[in-house]
Amino acid sequence: MAKNISVKTIKERARETKVIREADVIVVGGGPGGIGAAVSAARNGADTVLIERYGYLGGMGTGGLVTIIPLLTDYTGKQQIIGLTQEWIDRLIARNAVDFPPEEHWGSIDKELVRYYFQRSFFMTRLDRVSYAAIIDAEISKYILNEMVEEAGVKVYCHAWGTEPIMEGNHCKGVIIESKSGRQAILGKVVIDSTGDGDLFPYAGIEYEDNIPPNFRIANLALCFWVDGVDLKKANEYRQKNPHQFMELSRKAFESGAFGGYFTSNLPDQDSIVWFHNRYANKSQVDVEELTRVEFEGRKKMMKTYDFFKKNMPGFEKSFIVLSAPQLGTRSSRRMVGEYKLTQKDLSDNQPFEDTIAIFPDLDRGQESLNHPNMYIPYRCLLPKNVDNMLVACRAFSSDEHVQEWFNLIPHCIAFGEAAGTASALALKAGVGIKQVDIKALQKQLSKQGVPLPDVTKKVDYKYTGPALTTPPFGAH
């Protein structure tokens, strides 16, 4: 194989690139963050463009097959993430394309109930309690997200890759896109980076970090895949009647380089589908060579798993691979160093910021989570230091690796987006920069949109007095 890695460069000539559109707000990337941003900006009156690399919206939530919106209630069962996340779920409910514990079970410590939900889905329990998490249908979601942006009046470019910002000093004038129509430009007053990876950072001169300890969840890529044609009844019976043999098989699968475990879908009518989620260590999730390598490794491992299960596991005799995720499961890469950087210290602080734009339940850190049940998110962690009209609305928000580890999932990204989009529109309406936006007005508008926000004038004084934990935290490192 070629190994002549060079540091040679080649001159790309200056060129005139056609401007195809001018808008108020440009959102780059149509994942959960981009959806939140585009829908909110447009609903608040901004002329909004959304640029998406693939042919559908939803990012990890659809194309990544990470069809899970978890951690919506805090441990007491109070729902803290509502807004656009709940709207997405409500639209899925209307189509019978979602599965979640009903409201009366949220926060329950009833052992039978907790066991039931734990077996149903790993995501529906945390801290010995039932937690509100939604398992969503990927295909119906693609449709629903199209509907939401269409109704909001967002101008969408699918199959278009937003590659570079057009900078003029510390101001971003627009974005270069590549598509089948060739290289083109879109100009805008506010640009929101919802690429997940902060793709615009290096070109915009936005400071960022990308250190991730290798034992963290977010250090891993995923290539999720679904297997259909499984006789789940047979598989479950075998598992229950022969727990020892089942464990032995799982061990053998693991030893042979296959994955040992799967989730069942549980969505209506999907009674023969199982999901394999997985982790692949890597050097970087924005290095194209690493992405290629993991695609290969992932596909190899997928085939091994499939072959092993089909051959050895009762119930899998007639199974087949429905699909491997069209998008690699990226978990974290660049993180902006913004106006405020959320750090480990904030995890154990519990205090709302004056510019709080979201509350995230903290459920994954065992006793620590019980002591600090909610995390408050300041608007400033969406703002870069040295660019005056860009926002970040995705997992690349300003955070250290610890905060990133726990708070970069789908509902979190939607919340970043909802705040960023709303703030952009309000700033434009008021004729001020995004950094000068009236925070109280922003919070008022977010509340109106159904986003729970704290009373920032009151100090939170909190002490956990409930029973001690019996299960270990989700992701102890």
Binding site: I10, E12, E150, V288, K300, L328
Partner: protein, 494 residues
């Protein structure tokens, strides 16, 4: 506020771009044409890089869910396509990743066999009308499992020694005088360059030859299959037996329902998933017209069609689930990750294949493939094969460049009939082999020795007839097909 702006431009300053590799052959696009190009170039000794926009290779055959490899034989059952297509099918067969018409059925007119294959695919890939006899006959065609195919193609490309870069979109070219010397590509690593001695445009859409300023043709009659886009989706958990029984026992009611579905804007036709272990799965190949341009190049139109097609999928799904027996518990298991593009820009090559070539039966000096001609009505009946010259992969005016895939030099008539997966693999196999020969000899691709190219392809198992040096006389029947073969599919009737 704003809106569409007219011809405004923005200045991008000159800049230095990092060169990621310097190789012999750069293949842009990992669909059937690109994969075959990369495998052949690498096996022929060229240092080769393949870059692909998505995270998988296989293009329409995998990400487009057009997992069909038809027309391997002519209507008599005689096989014409071998080479890499057969190698691939043999490899898939070992893993249970393909289903195909049985050898003894190929060419058969026997009702039982014909009905069996018709039932699954509505005549699309397994059965054709024989205009000589008026009877239906079974072809040699295969369907393939997209996920197993992705893995198998990875193995073949890497096994050949080519280097592969996924998630990389080849966008612009590096020119020196009149020759392409490399490409710029975009990825999560930012903008980078690859330099090469021969660049193969296997983007399907001629993205690279457009950037290189090559002359092209994008005219296409809007009734042609190639003027339409498709979003393929799969429904599963369908009780096919119940559906069949309903259709057979209440044909009037069935017809009524289908009319109702069409009225609602749904898509009435599906294929039965005939891969192994897919007894409950059906495939919808939903065709969507391109109202403005028919070349699948306009990003605004692509977006609109993607959105519309998804709406149509949901209308269809809702209706089938609610009203059609057998579909009560069905669900959409996936929509294709890639929009199904079927045709578009074609290079103006050293030779342009036109309808006329179907009727001359000419064996060109530079023949690189023989393709079964099954879809062109009476002309197909009289002329069951078409030879493809190497020259239709060679741009007329640009050096350092070959075209592999559906953008080969052809009129829209030829393109519609000969731009599907096995054809693209054949073009790729020839382009990759020729590129490696050009690099070895230090010449431009257009100077490659035809005889040596033919001999190399024959060595690789490609079926190429002897070149006699004689040009066939032109005695054209000019009997055009009465209607477009594919029209009934594009129109959504059935």
């Amino acid at each position: 506020m704003s809106g569409k702006s007219a011809e405004k431009t923005i200045k991008e300053p000159a800049r230095d771009i990092k060169v990621w590799r310097e190789v012999d052959v750069v293949v842009v696009g990992g669909g059937p044409g690109g994969v075959a190009s990369a495998i052949s170039a690498a096996r022929s000794g060229a240092k080769t890089v393949l870059i692909e926009r998505y995270g998988h290779i296989g293009g329409m055959a995998t990400g487009g869910l057009v997992n069909i490899i038809p027309n391997l034989s002519d209507i008599s059952g005689k096989q014409h396509i071998y080479g890499l297509t057969m190698e691939l099918l043999n490899r898939l067969d070992k893993r249970g990743g393909t289903s195909y018409t049985r050898k003894k059925d190929r060419g058969s007119t026997e009702k039982k066999a014909v009905d069996y294959y018709l039932d699954a695919n509505l005549g699309w890939f397994y059965v054709r009308n024989d205009h000589n006899t008026g009877m239906q006959r079974v072809l040699y065609s295969a369907v393939v499992d997209p996920e197993i195919l992705k893995d198998e193609l990875n193995d073949m490309v890497l096994g050949a020694g080519a280097e592969l870069l996924l998630h990389s979109w080849g966008t612009q070219v590096i020119m020196k005088n009149n020759a392409v010397r490399g490409v710029f590509f975009e990825s999560k690593s930012g903008r980078q360059a690859i330099l090469g001695k021969v660049i193969i445009d296997a983007t399907g859409d001629g993205d690279i030859f457009v950037a290189a300023g090559a002359e092209l043709d994008n005219e296409c009659d809007n009734k042609r299959r190639t003027a339409w886009l498709a979003l393929v989706w799969w429904l599963t958990n369908v009780n096919i037996r119940k559906y069949d029984n309903f259709k057979a026992s209440q044909p009037e009611k069935y017809k009524e329902l289908i009319q109702e579905l069409i009225k609602l804007g749904g898509y009435p036709m599906f294929f039965k998933g005939i891969l192994k272990n897919q007894p409950n799965t059906v495939w919808y190949h939903c065709m969507q017209p391109q109202p403005q341009h028919t070349d699948a190049m306009d990003v605004e139109q692509l977006t609109k069609i993607d959105v519309q097609a998804r709406k149509r999928a949901l209308i269809t799904y809702d209706f089938m689930k609610k009203y059609v027996p057998g579909f009560e518990r069905s669900f959409i298991m996936l929509t294709a990750p890639q929009l199904g593009t079927q045709g578009g820009r074609r290079i103006i090559g050293e030779y342009i294949l036109t309808e006329k070539d179907m009727e001359t039966d000419e064996v060109f000096e530079d023949t690189i493939a023989v393709l079964a001609n099954n879809d062109y009505g009476e002309i197909s009946a009289k002329h069951p094969t078409l030879c493809i010259p190497y020259r239709c992969l060679v741009p007329k005016c640009v050096d350092g460049l070959l075209v592999a895939g559906r953008a080969f030099s052809s009129a829209d008539t030829i393109n519609e009939t000969f731009n599907i997966i096995p054809h693209c693999i054949a073009y790729g196999q020839a382009a990759g082999t020729a590129a490696a020969m050009a690099v070895k000899a230090g010449i431009q691709p257009r100077r490659v020795d035809y005889k040596a190219l033919r001999a190399n392809l024959v060595k690789q198992g490609v079926n190429i007839p002897e070149y006699s040096g004689k040009k066939k006389s032109e005695s054209l029947t000019r009997s055009k097909p009465k209607d477009f073969y594919y029209q009934k599919y594009t129109s959504g009737g059935g």
